[in-house]
């Protein structure tokens, strides 16, 4: 049978249960039985089997334990008691007539609550009398029953503790007497109609006395105890037991230690108040020992938010106990609130504040975890090797046992520290509370805020989080190895016990106790009830005799291990026997337990007995492994605040006052990389509190409150945490994208680098345990992140829409940062792809939409702001905003507010990146076009180009009637300018010719129209430059894969004439290799890859020869102009060049140009700032495309004037005569020269990009006679592929 089970369990380990979730949370689940082994699960029913005549004692122990159990329930009822009348409110006037009914209702409600208090009153009196009787029975010097056993002593102490706690709680809860007086009032009102209320009234009075008397329970206990005056002995024994245990300390876990500390002052008061011999106590226990204990722990935790101070308690009790009031030394102990500042500082410094110990705790933790892990490894190794080396196995297991003991002690000390720190904080509320920033928010700080919210400094919170994480991680580490180490622990404990009873006792029997029959009987009883002789197969008892006189080594008995631990009853009996042995069964024996009683036993033996005695009490904790771990790591008390809720008359506190949330919040606020993995630990505290509320306090409403708070906090956590993570990744990306060499050279470069943080562990949390629910934390973070990226994009687009086109570079940079942070984040989280998010936010998911939010914004911006208001500078190839009043006012939404994380993360990085993007804010040039090309991509860019081209043709159509108007305003005939008038004369003549009549107002409109066309052309020229660059880069990247080589004539040539490109051949050969391989896996997938390579090859090859956008634009403009050819380019009737009567476009433009140059010089209105060089681009392009370039160059007014000026400057005489005048016109001439240079530049560029030479060459016959202009077909190749509008 056993083998089968073993095998079956072993088979389970063959399952592969890999789980990648890191352990950053506390215990997930634990199997706990209702009754734990520390108190016997069968109520010591098996004690009688050992025939130690302990029947009476066992009965008493069980009775006391039952009382303890009831008492705890009572105190949880009392602790969670909430004032009722507070909720009832006042009766409105309209309902005065039904007052009687109201009283009745109130009475019934209150009666229920008061019945509970009445029950407490009854219980305490019965408990007190039972305890007193028990003490009296077991303290008779001429005792007729065995006992009290050590377990019994503990039960007495625990019951006493329950009573003290209950009393303390009753004193502290101010609402109870209030509620009671309310109840009594309603009772008087209600009971008017009743008969026979005397007994009820009496009962009420009793209850009132009970409730309103401080320390009523203790006083009652005192009366009960001293009914018979013989409890002094047992009280003294209890005090000695307490004092010795506390002084020894290491065998106590913190709950027991606190019990002893709470009980001790009461015991002292009771013992001293005895009528008979109050001072005999101090003969057995020196006063200094007591004072030391009280001084070392001036504050003791009693309830989660209620503390107890021995000094204050002694003082208060001295009023009630006359005899005790003479103990001035004990009474002069300072209570915590009376401690002078200096000593209080020393107290807290030394003892209470975790922050003072955290360094040592950290070292302890690190050291312990290492050693624990190594002994775990040893155990695993031992199990896997099947070693028969008994010594080694024993050593490994013993080592494990030591580690577990040490672990329990550490956990107990740490958790105890947290309890004590809390108590200390509660005893010393923050006096100069309320940091300045929250002054307005909470005018009246509740007491709870004073003791919790403002009472923990940042360092203290950090230390608390750290300690919590140590407790929880060590706890879960120990819990996880529960079943792994259980047998090792049993075996070690078994060995310890057997070693003691079989070997050590045997020696003692032979030596020290040989002569003392009574005592050696006890020793042999100990052997009888616990020795496991059959496990000792090598030697029987008789063998011991023979080996007795051998060497030191052979003295120790060898026995085979058995995987069974002693029962609680065995431990109980052994402890009893040892206690009997050392005390001789005499309660009045002077001195301590193992103290100075060397009269009969040798010191060594006493030492052995003592250490075994204390070991025994610790065995039970170890055997009760998971319950002990659970109890020691339970931090649920940090949440409870029933006492303060009641005293501040509130229903609940905001979560900012809640310690667990304060800790979680601190982790996030501190931005401390080391703490982030502890972010979920505060939620373990909630788990613990919920467990406590349901299992211990048994109050549903508390659980509901916790649940509501956890819901709120967890939402907050996800929100804040994702924000932090997002900010961190944004900052990381932003600092990555800064130029490293630049940063290196910078003095303060380190402020742009970020502190690395690790969120990987949190990203792997797929199941966070929260109040029994399992939450996929990773999923929540992912969801939220997806949302954040979308929000951020939305913000960036909003921001761009509120700025002008120049901000496009900034937009691109910010998008780059966002994209990079997305890239970094997707290494750990599976987010939506960035392109998907972008296209979603750009609203162009649809397959057939080619515009996007960004493209249409750019287009709108171009149309409404850029084209009318920006001027082009040919030299810098930049557009700048015209300094003149904006011709077309632009209305924009205000710049939206964004969190720093929506830009670049941290403030410093924001500043750095802003400095960069500010460089591009004042103009529009090549960098901006680069950004536009990159942002729009190949999908939306054609759409934008098309829109711009349509804009050109629309503008031309608008210009057409205006130009006709201007043509009409030209004089009938315009001849060449005569040279004899000089510059001035010519200028006058031109002015007369160009008065435009009634069409003057058309002039500027036409000029602006031409300027816009010119602007579009310039824009396209920039775009062309950029696209060339981009295409070349692409070509360089793809060429090696496509097998393209530079040919001899500078053309691109294919490297292998007939064969495939390297890309295809690579995959083909790979597929072939796979196929030829004997163990081929799946060649079909490689064939698919080859096919795809061919497709890619085709696609990339098609992209190599792309046309020029500028040429295409020119061709398009030319085609658009064809419509107006007849009007703007009238064929001369004579066949010769028409000089005087021509009203062709060039003539109109020439007039306009002269006009604006003149204005520019005369009015110094700086017209240039309004129009810029783009107007020359527009005009010259139209002239060129109409084939009028030569005409223009011949007959332009400005050019003619310049010719005149050249002739004039040749004659020095003229210069002298008209010096003044020339000076004035010199600036005009200069402007004209500049304009001519610009025009020439544009013409030469156009000739290069859109050659029309063929046209003019064939326009002249061989005979030399001019031919009528041949209608030139614009057949630029790209034009045919142009998608027709509206198709």
């Amino acid at each position: 049978m056993a083998v089968l089970v073993e095998e079956a369990i072993a088979a389970l380990s063959t399952f592969s249960l890999e789980d990648d979730q890191p352990e950053v949370q506390g215990l997930a689940a634990s199997l706990a039985t209702e009754r734990c082994a520390t108190t016997s699960p069968i109520e010591y029913g098996d004690v009688s089997a050992y025939r130690l005549s302990l029947v009476e004692d066992t009965k008493a122990v069980n009775q006391l334990n039952a009382l303890i159990h009831e008492g705890k329930e009572m105190s949880s009822v009392l602790y969670t008691y909430r004032s009722i009348p507070k909720e009832l409110g006042e009766l409105p006037d309209s309902m005065k007539h039904s007052q009687a009914e109201l009283y009745l209702e109130t009475y019934q409600v209150l009666d229920l609550e008061m019945s509970r208090l009445r029950e407490i009153q009854r219980w305490q009196s019965s408990a007190a009398s039972k305890l007193a009787v028990d003490m009296q029975r077991f303290s008779r010097p001429e005792r007729c029953i065995n006992g009290p056993t050590v377990t019994h002593l503990w039960s007495m102490l625990k019951l006493l503790d329950v009573l003290v706690q209950l009393d303390h709680l009753k004193n502290a809860k101010a609402s109870i007497p209030n509620d009671f007086s309310w109840y009594k009032r309603t009772f008087t009102q209600v009971s008017v109609q009743w008969q026979d209320t005397d007994s009820m009234r009496e009962e009420l009075d009793d209850l009132q006395i009970f409730l309103s008397t401080r320390w009523a329970i203790l006083l009652n206990l005192h009366v009960e105890m001293f009914r018979v005056n013989n409890v002094e002995d047992i009280l003294q024994v209890l005090i000695i037991f307490c004092v010795e245990s506390l002084e020894l300390d290491f065998t106590l876990l913190f709950p027991e230690r606190h019990i002893l500390l709470r009980v001790l002052p009461v015991l002292v008061v009771l013992a001293t108040s005895s009528e008979k011999d109050g001072d005999s106590l101090y003969r057995r226990v020196k006063m200094n020992r007591l004072i030391n204990i009280f001084k070392n722990d001036p504050v003791i935790p009693a309830f989660p938010d209620l503390h107890l101070s021995p000094a204050a308690m002694l003082k208060e009790l001295s009023v009630y106990f006359q005899k005790f009031s003479s103990q001035t030394r004990l009474l002069t102990l300072p209570a915590p609130h009376e401690l002078p500042p200096l000593t209080s500082f020393q107290y807290s410094e030394r003892h209470y504040l975790i922050v003072n110990h955290i360094g040592a705790i950290r070292a302890e933790h690190d050291d312990f975890v290492l050693r624990f892990a190594s002994s775990m490894n040893q155990i695993i190794l031992l199990k896997s090797t099947d070693s028969t080396d008994v010594d080694w196995s024993k050593e490994v297991k013993g080592n494990m046992y030591d580690m577990i003991v040490e672990g329990f002690q550490l956990l107990s000390r740490w958790t105890g520290r947290i309890w004590e720190q809390c108590a200390w904080k509660f005893s010393r509320p923050c006096k100069d509370s309320i940091p300045a920033d929250s002054l307005e928010s909470s005018t009246s700080n509740s007491d709870y805020e004073k003791v919790v919210r403002w009472n923990y400094t940042a360092d203290e919170r950090k230390a608390l989080v750290e300690l919590t994480s140590y407790i929880k991680s060590v706890g879960s580490m120990m819990q996880r190895c529960d079943t792994l180490v259980a047998d090792a622990l049993w075996e070690t404990i078994h060995a310890e016990v057997q070693d003691f009873v079989q070997n050590k006792l045997a020696i003692m029997l032979k030596t020290t106790f040989r002569k003392k029959k009574d005592l050696s009987r006890i020793l042999s009883d100990m052997r009888t009830l616990s020795a496991d002789w059959m496990a000792n197969t090598s030697k029987s008892e008789t063998d011991i005799h023979s080996s007795q006189h051998g060497g030191e080594e052979s003295k120790s008995n060898f026995f085979y291990p058995r995987l069974v631990a002693p029962t609680a009853a065995q431990v109980h009996c052994l402890q009893f026997l040892i206690y009997e042995l050392v005390s001789g069964g005499n309660l009045r024996k002077p001195g301590g337990l193992f103290g100075n009683s060397g009269l009969e036993h040798s010191v060594n033996d006493l030492k052995l007995l003592e250490s075994f005695f204390y070991k025994l009490s610790f065995f039970l904790h170890i055997l009760d492994y998971s319950v002990t771990v659970g109890a020691l790591t339970d931090l649920g008390f940090l949440w409870f605040r029933e006492f303060y809720l009641e005293s501040s008359r509130l229903i609940r506190f905001p979560i900012e006052c809640s310690l667990p949330w304060m800790l979680a919040d601190h982790v996030m606020e501190s931005q401390n990389a080391g703490l982030f993995e502890s972010i979920l630990l505060p939620f373990d505290i909630y788990n613990d509190s919920a467990q406590h509320a349901l299992v211990v306090l048994k109050q549903r409403f508390l659980y509901d409150e916790i649940e509501a708070e956890v819901d709120l906090c967890f939402d907050q956590l996800v929100l804040k945490l994702t924000d932090t993570i997002f900010t961190y990744y944004k900052s990381w990306a932003a600092s990555d994208l800064l130029d490293p060499s630049f940063l290196f050279a910078l003095d303060n470069g380190e402020k742009y680098s970020i502190q690395p943080m690790r969120f990987n562990a949190l990203f792997k949390m797929t199941r966070v345990k929260l109040l029994g629910r399992t939450i996929d934390f990773r999923r929540l973070i992912t969801e939220r992140m997806n949302k954040m990226f979308r929000e951020n994009l939305e913000f960036l687009f909003d921001r761009f829409e509120s700025q002008d086109l120049c901000a496009v570079v900034e937009l691109e940079k910010l998008l780059d940062i966002l994209r990079h942070s997305h890239e970094l984040l997707t290494q750990d989280l599976s987010l939506d792809s960035f392109d998907l998010i972008v296209s979603e936010m750009q609203e162009n998911i649809s397959l057939i939409s080619f515009s996007s939010r960004l493209a249409s914004q750019i287009w709108t911006e171009l149309q409404n702001d850029f084209l009318p208001n920006f001027v082009f500078c040919n030299t810098t190839q930049r557009f700048v905003r015209s300094t003149k009043v904006s011709l077309v006012p632009v209305q924009k939404p205000s710049v939206p507010y964004g969190k720093p994380s929506f830009y670049c993360g941290s403030q410093d990085l924001n500043l750095a990146h802003q400095t960069f993007s500010r460089l591009y804010i004042g103009f529009f040039g090549i960098p901006h076009v680069f950004s536009i090309v990159k942002l729009l991509g190949s999908r939306s860019l054609p759409w934008l180009i098309r829109a711009l081209l349509d804009h050109i043709s629309n503008k031309l159509a608008i210009l057409e009637p205006m130009i006709t108007g201007l043509q009409e305003a030209l004089p009938k005939s315009i001849g060449l300018l005569p040279f004899d008038g000089g510059v001035a004369g010519c200028q006058r003549i031109v002015k007369e010719l160009l008065n435009w009549g009634s069409k003057t107002e058309l002039k500027s409109e036409v000029l602006h129209g031409i300027k816009e066309i010119g602007t579009v052309l310039c824009w396209m020229a920039l775009l062309d430059v950029v696209l060339r660059q981009v295409d070349t880069t692409n070509l360089m990247q793809t060429a090696p894969w496509l097998g393209l080589m530079p040919g001899p004539d500078g053309q691109i040539s294919q490297s292998q004439e007939d064969g495939d490109s390297p890309l295809i051949s690579l995959f083909k050969s790979a597929a072939a290799t796979i196929e030829s391989c004997p163990r081929r896996s799946n060649p079909s997938s490689f064939n698919t890859i080859t096919k795809q390579a061919e497709a890619a090859d085709l696609l990339y090859k098609a992209n190599i020869t792309t046309g020029s956008v500028l040429e295409y634009t020119l061709a398009f403009t030319s085609a658009a102009l064809d419509k107006f050819c007849s009007k703007w380019n009238a064929a001369p009737k004579t066949g010769f060049i028409d000089i005087t009567t021509s009203k062709d476009f060039y003539r109109v433009y020439s007039g306009l140009q002269f006009g604006y140059l003149e204005e520019y010089v005369e009015a110094s209105s700086n017209n240039h700032d309004v129009l810029g060089d783009a107007v020359a681009w527009g005009g010259c392009t139209i002239i060129y495309l109409l084939g009028q370039q030569l005409h223009f160059e011949l007959f332009d007014f400005s050019y003619q004037l310049l010719n005149v000026a050249e002739v004039e400057t040749a004659t020095v005489y003229y210069v002298l005569k008209h010096a003044n005048y020339i000076q004035g016109s010199e600036s005009l001439l200069e402007a004209m020269r500049k304009e001519r240079r610009l025009n020439n530049h544009v013409f030469s560029l156009l000739r290069a990009r859109c050659p029309l030479e063929d046209k003019t060459a064939c326009a002249i016959k061989q005979s030399g006679a001019p031919l009528q202009r041949i209608r030139f077909e614009n057949t630029v190749s790209a034009f045919e592929t142009l998608p027709q509008k509206g198709a």
């Binding site: 056993a2 089970v5 073993e6 369990i9 389970l12 399952f15 249960l17 890999e18 789980d19 990648d20 979730q21 997930a28 689940a29 199997l31 089997a49 050992y50 025939r51 130690l52 005549s53 001429e142 005792r143 007729c144 029953i145 065995n146 529960d482 079943t483 259980a486 047998d487 009574d518 009987r521 006890i522 009883d525 009888t528 009830l529 020795a531 496991d532 059959m534 058995r562 995987l563 069974v564 631990a565 026997l577 009997e580 001789g584 069964g585 005499n586 797929t766 199941r767 399992t774 996929d776 990773r778 999923r779 599976s830 939506d832 998907l836 998911i845 649809s846 397959l847 057939i848 939409s849």
Partner: protein, 87 residues
Amino acid sequence: MMARAGGIGITNAVNVGIAVQADWENREFISHISLNVRRLFEFLLHFEATTKSKLASLNEKLDTLERHLELLEVQVSTASANPSLFN
């Protein structure tokens, strides 16, 4: 001292010794069984944890696929709303 009524000491030491010995052996069997039951329980816990992890990662993949599918559906619907494109 030991002569008091009640007295200390096992009244029938031999019998008790035999019973204790038998008790040790019985309890060996009990602790063997209980330890293995606890191991079974622990296995189940571990198994649950693993399963939950795996389900979570599966869920994540499904989520991704679902969103992707949604996107594709939208794209297809926009395209098929304009059948002229395919002619």
